[in-house]
């Protein structure tokens, strides 16, 4: 049984083309919803002990009226806590806000054993300059990772030059990478628009990991191609298809194993880590897909196009 993956490449190009276009469109129209660490600002999460959670609108009004802060949003989180967000504040302001919210839920009639208290769970205040720097750094990190990967593949495949030059393997691998990253980011742009999902520093880590992982998958297939080119001297297209088929079970199994691990984090890992795990899950899925259905077919297309 042999799958005619390379021969059907037009279909894969079509599917990927559509997904890629949706991703680019989402990025252009909505863009990523940058988190606090990139934009600067503050986030304060509190929960309430021996008191009912106050209405978020009341809390919002209190912050707007008493502290004259900009960009205030207040939302509930979990069962008992609320998350407040606003511009960058000093530590004194934070303490004053906590005091004010404490007054909001205070109850003079409460017994000593059950005094209503506000409990700070998490506080973050990032200066705008820090966020700006982080953004620049992220772009640098991704650019450097791409350069490193292309160089390594070109080096690892340096002995393969027929019928496709070694640098083309690297380039195709990077195109597959770009495909994975753009689609994943596009999904996040959509998720950001629809569900308010934010992109923060761990997301950049996830994107970089996707880069490493996707190329990891692609290399396994290319490696087999490299080996088979020495073994068979048939049609290039047929050899590549043979290689994809031979590595197919491995690609699927590895992806399933890795996804099993990371989906466990996605489901059980808790709220904080979820965007990170989601980015990894999507990236690994598309990474596996692109190494089978995009990278190798592209190699063949390029070789054919060059011959014309």
């Amino acid at each position: 049984m042999k799958l005619r993956i390379i021969q059907h490449r037009r279909w894969w190009y079509l599917i990927s083309g559509v997904l890629f276009a949706i991703g680019v469109a989402a990025l252009l129209i909505w863009g990523l919803r940058w988190g606090l660490d990139f934009t600067g600002g503050s986030s304060l999460e509190v929960d309430f002990v021996n008191a009912n959670r106050p209405d978020v609108e009341i809390v919002r009004q209190l912050i707007v009226d008493d502290f004259k802060l900009n960009d205030v949003t207040v939302q509930t989180s979990g069962d008992k806590s609320i998350i407040m967000r606003f511009e960058t504040i000093t530590d004194e302001t934070r303490q004053q806000i906590l005091t004010k919210i404490g007054e909001l839920v205070s109850d003079p009639n409460a017994p000593d054993s059950a005094v209503p208290t506000v409990n700070q769970l998490h506080f973050e205040s990032i200066g705008p300059a820090v966020g700006q720097e982080l953004r620049q750094k992220s772009i640098w990190a991704i650019a450097l990772a791409l350069i490193g990967i292309v160089s390594y593949i070109a080096w690892a495949f340096r002995k393969v030059s027929r019928p496709v030059e070694s640098w083309k393997y690297g380039t195709v691998a990077v195109i597959a990478l770009a495909h994975d990253v753009v689609i994943t980011c596009g999904m996040f742009a959509i998720a950001g628009h629809l569900f308010g999902m934010e992109v923060n520093t761990p997301f950049i880590a996830a994107v970089l990991t996707i880069l490493g992982y996707s190329v990891h998958d692609t290399i396994v297939v290319f490696d087999r191609t490299r080996e088979n080119l020495h073994r068979y001297h048939g049609d290039f297209e047929e050899t590549v298809n043979q290689s994809v088929n031979e590595t197919f079970a491995r690609s699927i199994n590895t992806t399933v194993a890795t996804l099993l691990a990371i989906v466990a984090v996605l489901i059980f890992g808790g709220e904080t880590i979820r965007p990170f795990a989601l980015a990894l899950t999507m990236g690994i899925f598309f990474g596996a897909y692109s190494s089978i259905f995009i990278a190798s077919p592209l190699l063949v297309s390029w070789q054919k196009w060059g011959k014309k």
Binding site: Y152, A205, G212, D217, N253, T258, A261, A264, I273
Partner: protein
């Protein structure tokens, strides 16, 4: 010959298991300590392993991450990085005094920004910690101010002003002398420039000699009789007085006089160019070597003695030489805490601050001075604080997720690959033990992202096994026997394993450079995971498989999930 290879392999496997068990016990001492407890009970011995803890990041155990920006604008460009190192040292001393376990204090710079990052794990009272770090006990030594000489123009203006003032005073004197006595108060109310008495019609009340300036005293006590007004203007340092002696009396054996006056002020140099109360010197907390509480041998009150370093000693000597007979101000946070008078030049770099300290105050001051003054001011620009409960929740959830992940991956491998799958699972468990041992032994900080990295690396560690097994099965299908298929599988899969892992390592090293501690944690755990997984997949799985295989197994198709040569496609349980 063959047997001896197998024997070697089996010996190797035994060694690996011993290492793995040791590692496992180190990671999770309960395994050993529970049976050891029974043993101790029976034999009365005391054996057991002292449990060590993983080092958890801020997001898992709660704590605060603070970023301070240092204002180095007043420091010469070449000395900025040493100034920022100074800031770090000072903060470190302060934090240590606070008793936080293993605080992390680093400098970080980007372009012209000089920053200090402070991570305090497990700190309960973040507010106080922030206060403590941010406090800038700025120790300064200041000298008395000196007036600047006036310019010629200013002198001229001053003279003109005073001439005019005198003329004005004389005109008023004329009016007063030409008016009845009871008009004095009215004129004083209107014209006097003495804010203290003008409203009362110039009345100064009864006073004894010595309260007023000598010129006025002479007029009211010696020259005038009660009811008289001075015929001349009386000049004092304040200006020109027109004085009316109202009455005099004898009280407590002292002569007292009641007088009224009209004052026309004059200007002096210090009105135009006020003298700076204190002038900053180069001497300050920077040159302080040590501060300690000593008791004044004469009075027995606590004082704080200061010892300067070489530079400070020299500066202090110059300072005291130039200021004999004058006062030197010792300022802490811009507040004068002591203003001793210099009696003689002081060499040797010792000074004493003798404020009116209580013993605890003196101790606190010495402690704060020893902790050092910050060489430059700092501001808190970014802060992330995670409550301990949220951290503990995250830790439990991620550990649970890790367990589930490990379980799911193991189950998948067992179901799909059968015997090799079992070996992969054993290799995976050994892998986990080794990685966790490394985490523990090298005190690698585990963050939430770091644990995610570890869980991800479990998936990736399996990949090496999958590559090998797939290759092995391929070789089996090609008709090789088990042993040579195994060897071939490992041999041929290696380049793929190497190349793909190198790419992951490239991205990890970039992530590590990325410097945010959360991301660094992820990069580090993933790197360790990838390196260890290359080792376990290639050496441990391979030897385990070789050690277990016997030629008989060639017939046990079920174990390798391959079809029997005859008919059925599905292996039977």
């Amino acid at each position: 010959m063959k047997l001896s290879i197998t024997a070697k392999v089996r010996l190797w496997i035994l060694a690996v298991f011993l290492v793995a068990i040791t590692a496992g016990t180190y990671v999770y001492p309960v395994i050993f300590n529970t049976p050891a407890g029974w043993f101790n009970k029976v034999t009365g011995q005391h054996i057991g392993i002292k449990p060590t803890d993983f080092r958890l990041g801020l997001d898992l155990q709660g704590g605060t991450h603070l970023v301070y920006q240092a204002d180095v604008s007043k420091i010469a460009a070449g000395e900025r990085s040493s100034a920022i190192d100074g800031v770090r040292d000072v903060i470190e001393r302060r934090v240590n005094a606070f008793g936080v376990s293993e605080p992390l204090i680093q400098t970080s710079g980007s372009g012209d920004n000089y920053r200090v990052v402070v991570e305090l794990a497990g700190v309960k009272d973040v507010d106080q910690a922030i206060k403590m770090i941010g406090e800038t006990p700025l120790l300064e030594f200041k000298t008395e101010g000196v007036a600047q000489p006036l310019t010629a123009q200013e002198k001229k203006d001053l003279a003109k002003y005073n001439t005019d003032a005198k003329k004005k005073a004389q005109a008023i004197l004329k009016t007063v002398l030409n008016s009845p006595l009871d008009q004095f108060a009215t004129i004083a109310k209107e014209k006097s420039e003495d804010p203290g008495s003008a409203a009362n019609g110039g009345d100064l009340g009864f006073v004894a000699r010595g309260v007023f300036v000598p010129e006025v005293d002479q007029t009211i006590f010696d020259d005038l009789k009660p009811g008289e007004i001075s015929r001349q203007l009386v000049e004092s340092s304040y200006g020109w007085h027109i004085i009316y002696k109202v009455a005099e009396r004898e009280q407590d054996g002292q002569k007292q006089v009641q007088a009224s006056h009209i004052l026309i002020r004059k200007k002096v140099e210090s009105d135009i160019r006020p003298v700076d109360a204190w002038q900053t010197t180069a001497l300050g907390g920077k040159q302080l070597q040590r501060a300690q509480v000593v008791f004044d041998p004469n009075v027995g009150t606590p004082t704080v003695s200061l010892q300067f370093d070489n530079e400070g000693s020299k500066l202090f000597e110059e300072l005291t030489t130039a200021n004999v007979g004058k006062t030197i101000g010792i300022f802490l946070d811009n507040q004068p805490i002591s203003t001793p008078t210099v009696n003689e030049p002081i060499s040797g770099g010792q000074a004493v601050i003798s404020g009116n300290f209580s013993l605890p105050e003196a101790k606190l001051l010495a402690q704060r001075l020893n902790a050092g003054a910050l060489p430059v001011p700092i501001t808190l620009i970014s802060q992330q604080t995670v409550g301990a409960s949220l951290g503990a929740d995250s830790l439990n959830r991620s550990l649970f997720a890790g367990m589930i992940g490990l379980l799911a991956v193991s189950l998948f491998m067992l179901l799909y690959y059968r015997l090799p799958g079992l070996i992969a699972v054993i290799a995976l468990i050994i892998y986990s033990c080794l990685v966790l041992t490394i985490f523990k032994f090298f005190h690698i900080t585990l963050t939430l992202a770091g644990i995610a990295g570890f869980i991800l690396s479990i998936g990736m560690a399996v990949d090496a096994n999958v590559l090998i097994f797939e290759r092995m099965m391929e070789e089996l299908r090609r008709g090789r026997d088990l042993l040579s298929a195994t060897n071939e599988g490992f041999h041929r899969a290696w380049p793929s394993i190497r190349d793909s892992n190198v790419c992951t390592l490239i991205t990890c090293s970039i992530l590590f450079w990325f410097s945010t501690s959360l991301v660094k944690g992820f990069a580090l755990t993933l790197t360790i995971g990838v390196i260890v997984s290359m080792f376990t997949a290639v050496t441990i799985s391979r030897n385990l498989l070789r050690g277990m295989l016997t030629p008989r197994m060639d017939k046990w198709y079920f174990l390798f999930h391959r079809p029997k040569p005859v008919a059925t496609d599905k292996p039977q349980a």
